[in-house]
């Protein structure tokens, strides 16, 4: 697997963009800036996926991560953000000792990774002729696109077939996981006030809640009046 020509230029551009955006994600003082840098890091990683010929995964990355997860992150940041950190009143990092230890650990980790990858890189050394001829053979098989300039990649088709042929059970488990996540996050983020308004708090619990100070009598009154109005 060797990139050629413009592909390698784009590889270095997006690789550097990924690393710089990742570093800025960790270093930024404002959490919103962090989230925006993370979005650019994720988009750069999606571009690397395209360079690797995984167009479907790149699309999923943009749709799910940037369109879904990061929007959720931004919402939560804006809900809970403590502005003291942005103004510089609060420490950004942990105590100095912890940060030093963490940075030393990460430096060792990087050194180890470099050693391991360089050590084994020779074994993954490409056989250029074989790879090129295989790519050509594959390209000859592919259907031409409507414009006639390029060929339609079979990659997405293969991913779909593999997903349902070899990964059908994990696929179902993943859907169950998402269902549990939806229910769990709704349950976690709700307040007793909202539950009262939706009329699904056990009436016997209401005195306990008001005794615990979570609900004022006025709120209980208002909620029961609203319920009576609905009925």
């Amino acid at each position: 697997m060797v990139l050629q020509g413009w592909e390698s230029v784009f590889f270095w551009v997006f690789a550097l963009a990924t690393l710089v955006a990742g570093l800025l994600t960790v270093m930024a003082r404002n959490a919103v800036h962090s989230a925006l840098f993370l979005i650019s890091a994720l988009v750069s990683v999606a571009a690397l996926f395209v360079l690797l010929g995984a167009e479907f995964i790149a699309g999923v990355q943009i749709l799910v991560y940037v369109g879904g997860v990061m929007v959720l992150f931004l919402f939560v940041i804006m809900l809970v953000n403590v502005s003291a950190e942005e103004r510089g009143g609060e420490e950004l990092f942990n105590r100095t000792g912890q940060v030093t230890a963490a940075v030393c650990f990460v430096a060792l980790l990087v050194l180890g990774f470099f050693y391991a990858i360089n050590h084994s890189a020779a074994r993954f050394a490409p056989d250029p002729e074989a790879a090129v001829s295989r790519t050509d053979r594959e390209a000859a098989r592919l259907r031409p696109a409507e414009t006639g300039v390029s060929k339609i990649s079979e990659d997405t088709q293969r991913v779909g077939a593999s997903l349902y042929r070899y990964g059908a059970l994990p696929f179902e488990i993943a859907s169950l996981l998402l269902l549990v996540a939806i229910v769990g996050s709704v349950l976690l983020a709700r307040t007793s006030k909202q539950e009262l308004a939706h009329d699904d708090v056990d009436p016997q619990v209401i005195p306990e809640l008001s005794a615990a100070g979570e609900l004022t009598p006025a709120e209980i009154e208002a909620a029961s009046r609203a319920r009576a109005g609905d009925a």
Partner: protein, 131 residues
């Protein structure tokens, strides 16, 4: 210390700087793996050093993306080697993205519940199980 430095130098000469121009012009599998490793390390550094729990979650997303990059790079490599079912790496990446989405939803729900109770999102202030 000196020996460590020398070994690092030998490492660079042996792998990265060896036919430097070739590796810049024609990045191969190992360059993708190195980018993935660096991204992972940045994520680990973020998890270990930041105080803001939301930024810690974002660093975890960086770590997961580094793993995804490795999976996709190996998938492409195996495809060119003519391996059967070489797209398994891409399928696995789909599952990682699903788990990351679920993790973000649950984690951020926890952050909101925590903020409602404690009025803080700094991990060093959250050190009690019950208050």
């Amino acid at each position: 210390m000196n020996s460590l430095f020398t070994s690092a130098l030998v490492l660079l000469q042996g792998g990265v700087l060896d036919n430097f121009e070739q590796s810049i012009k024609h990045p191969d599998l190992s360059k993708f793996l190195i980018i993935g490793a660096l991204l992972f390390s940045i994520g680990v550094a973020g998890v270990l050093t930041r105080r803001n729990i939301i930024v810690i979650f974002m660093s975890i997303e960086l770590i997961l993306n580094a793993a995804n990059l490795n999976f996709i790079a190996f998938s492409r490599y195996l495809q060119e080697q003519g391996s059967l079912n070489a797209v398994a790496g891409q399928v696995f990446t789909v599952f990682i993205i699903v788990v990351a989405a679920a993790e973000a939803a649950i984690g951020l729900g926890l952050v909101i519940a925590l903020y409602r109770n404690r009025e803080t999102i700094f991990v060093d202030k959250i050190d009690l199980l019950k208050w």
